[in-house]
Symmetry: C2
Subunit: 285 residues, 2 copies
């Protein structure tokens, strides 16, 4: 049995940065330390941070005093205003690539473009981006949804940073038919594109694919969906406990990748478990 591990698996730059900021904050401001929502979409990493004394709070209203860390996905304008009003000590761990998407969204709105976001309307990153635009912003998760919209005079398009590039491209191609002017910023994070491309390449070569990451992580969900389209034996798991040996029985090539918010220690644990199963002989599982 051969195990192929994606080079791009695991923490991206923005997640790594947010984890460093949070760990440092735990040392400097150990008292009344909170994150607004989970810092990153990985329950095990969040548990680690809670071990350092950090409390996850869903609303600013639930943080009476002390420090609030804004998570990697960004903060909405409403929450930002509330946190300032409450005079909370603010530490901003928003991913710079997410911030860039916010800047482009504001820029397009300011210059008279109707804004369209390719992304998941429920995702905190998209909710935050939308909150800075004083007008209605349509969010599209598939091309079918776009077909109900338009035509537009001036249309601006950006994407959630972890969206699938092929969807972004499809939406742009569809919309250009219905506009006088279209302006699109490719706000998809390069790390996401590289991770998706590598996953596709590995999925083509293997007879079983393991995708590791939080079930609440949008980019991990999309990564699993992309792999499943190519290799139906794709399993999305969060931890090594969830790795069922029977699923690997008889497989000759196993691929492994992980979302942007998956800690390296979890990837390592799963890798070791696969290797130990291999030593036992996968055929006999």
């Amino acid at each position: 049995m051969k195990l192929i591990i994606a080079k791009s698996a695991g923490f991206c730059f923005g997640v790594k940065r947010a984890m460093e900021i949070a760990t440092e904050a735990a040392q400097k401001h150990p008292k009344d330390l909170h994150t607004l929502g989970p810092l990153i979409h990985n329950p095990q990493a969040v548990e680690f941070l809670e071990g350092l004394g950090m409390k996850v709070r869903e609303r600013i209203e639930d943080i009476p005093r002390g420090t609030v860390i804004f998570r990697s996905h960004g903060v909405s304008l409403g929450d930002l205003v509330k946190a300032r009003k409450k005079k909370l000590h603010i530490i901003d761990a928003t991913c710079p690539i997410v911030k860039r998407a916010q800047v482009f969204a504001k820029h397009l709105h300011r210059h008279g473009y109707t804004l369209l976001i390719v992304g998941d309307a429920q995702h905190p990153e998209v909710e935050a981006i939308r909150s800075y635009i004083p007008e209605r912003v349509d969010v599209m998760e598939n091309v079918a949804a776009v077909q109900r919209l338009g035509p537009w005079d001036k249309l601006g398009i950006i994407a959630q940073t972890t969206q699938s590039f092929s969807l972004f491209k499809e939406v742009v191609a569809f919309c250009v038919e219905r506009v006088k002017e279209l302006r699109a910023f490719n706000t998809i994070c390069r790390a996401t594109t590289v991770r998706q491309m590598e996953a596709v390449e590995i999925a083509k070569k293997v007879d079983c694919m393991i995708v590791i990451g939080g079930y609440n992580s949008g980019n991990t969900q999309r990564l699993a969906a992309i792999c499943r389209d190519i290799q139906p034996h794709t399993y999305h798991i969060e931890t090594s406990q969830e790795l069922r040996p029977k699923r690997l029985a008889g497989r000759e090539k196993i691929g492994l990748t992980a979302g942007a918010s998956t800690p390296s220690w979890i990837i390592k644990e799963i890798e070791q478990k696969v290797q130990s199963l291999k030593a036992k002989g996968l055929k006999d599982l």
Copy 2:
């Protein structure tokens, strides 16, 4: 036999306007009246203008004095400067929609976008647009050509006003993969899109398609190509003399359309010829 004639066949707004400007000029400035290149891409219409005393000259150098009419496709910056230097009396018959494409091209260049034109590099309209941009401008007639270009930071895309919309869309979709920012102005003339769409609908219904217009007319050539993709029995002709009765033999439904620079009198003549053949009985041809 049924004859279906496209409602959109014949002179578009810009060509009609250019013909009116030229006819008026022939009355007001009958002496030393010239057009720089053919006013529109239709030999029969140009012949009619020559009958009014208008001379077609390919270069400003060949116009010693008098009046010069700039054709519907626009004039290059170089020729404009030369005409002014020579103190020729200038009458500008550039189509306002072509002028709009020139304005967007300049706007994109001025704002730091690398300019890409979807069009035919040899067409006078494209040559004129390009001449206003002091840097190299790539012109693409198919998607294969775009694949050799990029990536770009800021890419601006416009189209020759009579281009096929599906090509414009394909180029935009391809380029969005290779840019940080893409800005596209849909400069394709609405009349062109409507004419192409109507031709497609008619071509689907008939067993023979006649496309009328100058062999040197880009939009007529594209119209014929679009129809031929659907109905192989598509014939591009310039005049009624070229209508070969044998080609219509046995056809039950005949479609008819014409390019943007095809005079109505030619369309009428061909329609009458088809009707007279019909009266004779197409089956016996």
